[in-house]
Symmetry: C2
Subunit: 352 residues, 2 copies
């Protein structure tokens, strides 16, 4: 989305060109980010001039149908075509966070005089702050998942198994011509104490049930978690839910320009009080063309939040074999009030 | 599946231990191959002694439910736990074909005295030849997709769009508690001249329609392509189909122990005669836990076929904007007669 900014950075770093690969042996979501084409190929970004995408002959038509960039299909060999396009530069930018050691070795063999500098931090810095277009896609993805979740809760009484719920979410997602942004989690009773439980063909258990789910809109991911209770919750359970909800909502107010990610994480552990020790994962992560991307909000985070970042807020508590509760929103960081883009109410849905 | 053979190779190479990572930032199908657990973690394979899988705390239960290997969840930090487990060996095997440059740099920083040798070729050599268990999974995956394709052809008259066919295949796959091994291709009329065309919400066009589709059984992939004709084929079209079919069936007989992959590829181009120039992709690829894995049969292949390899045979011709025809089987290489494990007849299904 920010290919011109990328070119500026290349110029600033004295890199005449960068190559971003998206190959079967190593996919790179940044390739899709810049090209909007999700097949195999190599994006060639010169510091000045027009970027282009080199693709295998069999992908030519599809690439042309999807990317606004210039597409060139190689005929005989990719290497030959690439060399004709870029010549023999001494410095080439590649993404060290995705190119495997072996591919790097092959590149060096093919272009023995070139140095392959890392451009992953440049790209991370671009991707972490969303453009207005990206924000509009993220809002729409969240609105679509809100809508699907509403429908799901309306039908909840008829579901017998976790898989029933999963299939319903999946079907509603397809009906809207979309796909999951990650494999949906439906975890009832003791299963919910595994944060990444896979929905099973087992009867929905009494007690708390975690629904963690997202869809894609224009390639951009939503991510929401809401809670259902099957049966009649005890006072203690309701109090625990309220504690979680208060903590989650309090933490949302901390998603502001300049906040340190580790401080926000620490505040969430503190807000969970004595339950803090049952919070066994990070507090949140960026969303974009990937459902997990920088920044991350955890005990070792080094980033600070900035306007335009779009980040989840998902504290959870997990009592092994007993229960799991997680509430998750996706939030756009702004200068003042965070914009919550998952708008479906965070209320506990009690299904008797 | 062959973890003991892997350990023997490590011993032979003087490597006391190998680490295989499966992380969000770089997945490695070989991790699943050895562990049968598809979540995040690090497989620690000592040259002697018991392998174990180190996983994040939130994956502990799921890992224990799926892998037969010993599972250890780290508490504070992965690095600390890993060091306690492996000590400070001077030589460590890692998979250079999947570990990104940046992760390699981090590993070297963390263990500055260790050398990280490449074990990817060892693993490739193990994975390329299937065990009896793997062959039984591959046969079952192919039988399941045969069954689904039969059902699909029985219902073909009622489909209006490419997406209708796609959705039917998808639904039948789910009904059998399986998933696609790759995104199914349904390409009618001129769309079929793009070998990787995505099924569209467009009316099925008259003429040839490519159905390229596979499912998973126990994590193992099937891959089959069959052809439908909508309307009344001309004599010329029938003759072209027959030419393709004869070529494909002839090439199957070449899938024998010791055959050079490049020779088999060359023979397929030759068998297509004047249409050889419209054959714009490789002839085949191994199938296993990945739908595309070694060996590959193309103009630059260096492998030879060997007993137990399971490989596709999929010649195709593509007349840009006009038509595409591809016929594909999955084949187990044996000493004598190749075993075709996609058993649904290769006849052209004519739908009037």
């Amino acid at each position: 989305m920010r290919i011109k900014d990328f070119q500026k950075e290349l110029k600033r770093k004295g890199l005449p060109v960068a190559l971003l690969f998206n190959l079967e042996e190593h996919l790179n979501p940044s390739f899709y980010y810049f090209t909007r084409y999700d097949g195999y190929g190599c994006l060639v970004v010169p510091a000045t001039g027009k970027p282009l995408v080199i693709v295998p002959p069999m992908e030519e038509e599809r690439a042309k149908d999807t990317t606004p960039l210039h597409v060139l299909a190689y005929r005989k060999s990719f290497a030959g075509t690439l060399q004709r396009v870029i010549g023999r530069p001494r410095n080439i930018g590649i993404d060290h966070s995705t190119v495997p050691i072996l591919s790097h070795r092959r590149l060096r063999k093919r272009m023995p005089r070139a140095r392959f500098a890392d451009v992953s931090t440049i790209i991370d810095r671009l991707r972490i702050v969303k453009t207005e277009t990206e924000l509009s896609y993220l809002r729409k993805a969240c609105a679509m998942s809100d809508d699907i979740l509403h429908t799901c809760f309306d039908h909840f009484k008829k579901f017998r198994t976790e898989k029933d719920v999963y299939r319903f979410l999946d079907q509603e997602t397809r009906n809207r011509d979309s796909v999951f942004s990650f494999d949906a989690i439906v975890a009832s009773g003791g299963n919910a104490s595994q944060p990444h439980h896979r929905p099973a063909n087992v009867k929905l258990k009494k007690g708390f049930c975690v629904i963690d789910f997202g869809v894609k809109y224009q390639g951009y991911c939503s991510d929401t978690t809401r809670m259902v209770y099957l049966g009649r919750p005890s006072r203690k359970e309701l109090a625990l839910y309220q504690l979680m909800l208060d903590a989650q909502e309090h933490v949302t107010t901390l998603y502001t320009q300049g906040a340190s990610c580790v401080d926000v994480f620490d505040a969430s552990v503190k807000a969970l009080g004595t339950y803090g020790k049952y919070f066994i994962h990070g507090l949140g992560h960026g969303i974009g063309v990937e459902v997990h991307e920088p920044p991350s909000l955890g005990p070792n985070s080094e980033e600070r939040l900035a306007t335009g970042m779009t980040v989840t807020n998902e504290p959870g508590v997990y009592l092994p074999g007993k229960l799991g509760i997680r509430i998750e929103d996706s939030i756009i960081v702004t200068k003042k009030r965070p914009e919550i883009i998952t708008r479906i109410p965070r209320v506990l849905r009690i299904i008797r």
